[in-house]
């Protein structure tokens, strides 16, 4: 014999349609595809950082003396350029959300100009380094420095190309306050690239 326990009449039936969003569930900023790319980028740099730490553990003297050989002014300059560029992109996103497309384009152009400061400083730093004999044969610290910073430079170039594309599309009116996932996806990529630089900068220019 089974006992059937009836539900109390106060229990409401589940509502039809999509479930309401759970508090704290969040969303995917930009697009899924961009986040796949971002996690590939993070994985790539995580591996390069692992190589850096192993090389540093095996050659502590070379890495301790390393930062003195690099230009701290150039390293700080890269950091300030990327941070300011990221700030402009964040302001552009907010301008788009409130529907001010002209301000969005202006902030994006400012972000592009500051972003260009990164390769511009790189040219001057490379000239300085080569004049001081800091090329690929200058030891394990300098080799580590070149492979990590050049990989980051490639990502900055991709970001600058993406930024040009987003500026053009914003100017053509492709984004609206309701739908600007392309702009947001680019902003995510640019901020992550910025964050990776914030990790590289102290490793080579401050700690060694």
């Amino acid at each position: 014999m089974t006992l059937a326990v009836p539900l109390p009449p106060t229990v409401p039936a589940p509502a039809p349609g999509p479930l309401p969003a759970q508090p704290g569930a969040g969303r995917i900023p930009g697009s899924k595809a961009m986040w796949v790319g971002i996690f590939c980028e993070i994985t790539e740099f995580a591996l390069l950082f692992a190589v850096f730490f192993v090389a540093r553990a095996h050659h502590p003297e070379a890495f301790q003396a390393g930062p003195e050989r690099l230009s701290l002014l150039a390293g700080t300059g890269y950091t300030l350029m990327l941070l300011t560029s990221g700030w402009c992109v964040a302001r552009a996103l907010h301008a788009m959300r409130r529907g001010d497309k002209r301000a969005t384009v202006r902030w994006m152009l400012a972000g592009f100009v500051f972003g260009l400061g990164y390769p511009a400083i790189k040219v001057f730093e490379l000239q300085r380094n080569f004049a001081l004999g800091l090329d690929g044969s200058a030891g394990v610290f300098i080799v580590s420095y070149y492979y990590l910073t050049f990989t980051h430079l490639v990502h900055v170039f991709w970001g600058l190309l993406g930024m040009m594309w987003v500026i053009v599309r914003t100017g053509l009116g492709a984004y609206t306050p309701e739908e600007h996932s392309g702009l947001e996806a680019f902003a995510c990529y640019w901020h992550i690239t910025d964050m990776i630089w914030l990790m590289i900068f102290p490793l080579f220019y401050l700690l060694g």
Binding site: H58, W87, I192
Partner: protein
């Protein structure tokens, strides 16, 4: 305070920390202490970018957790590899032959 004002203040903090972090590194303190100071500054800067530029608090929990693990893991690794560089060297030396 408007979101734009918060972004402006975050940027100002980031600039000040970038300049201040260089000062910590050029001090004559013990290597591990310098690594702790520089890592702390790094962690604060990464958190500022996550919160105010990337707006990570609005992101899906998996994205949030993965990015935060990367951001928190890096400063911790800097400290650990500075404090236990010899151990890492002997471990990887044994693995690499």
């Amino acid at each position: 305070m408007s979101p734009e004002r918060k972004i402006d203040l975050a940027w100002l903090m980031l600039v000040l920390l970038s300049v201040g972090g260089a000062g910590i590194a050029r001090s004559d303190a013990n290597a591990v202490l310098v690594a702790v100071g520089v890592s702390l500054v790094m962690a604060i800067k990464l958190r500022l970018v996550c919160n105010y530029f990337l707006e990570l608090h609005e992101a899906h929990p998996r994205i949030r957790r993965a990015v935060l693990a990367f951001c928190h893991g890096m400063p911790i690794l800097v400290i650990l590899t500075t404090a236990f560089g010899d151990t890492l060297s002997s471990l990887t030396g044994a693995l690499l032959g």
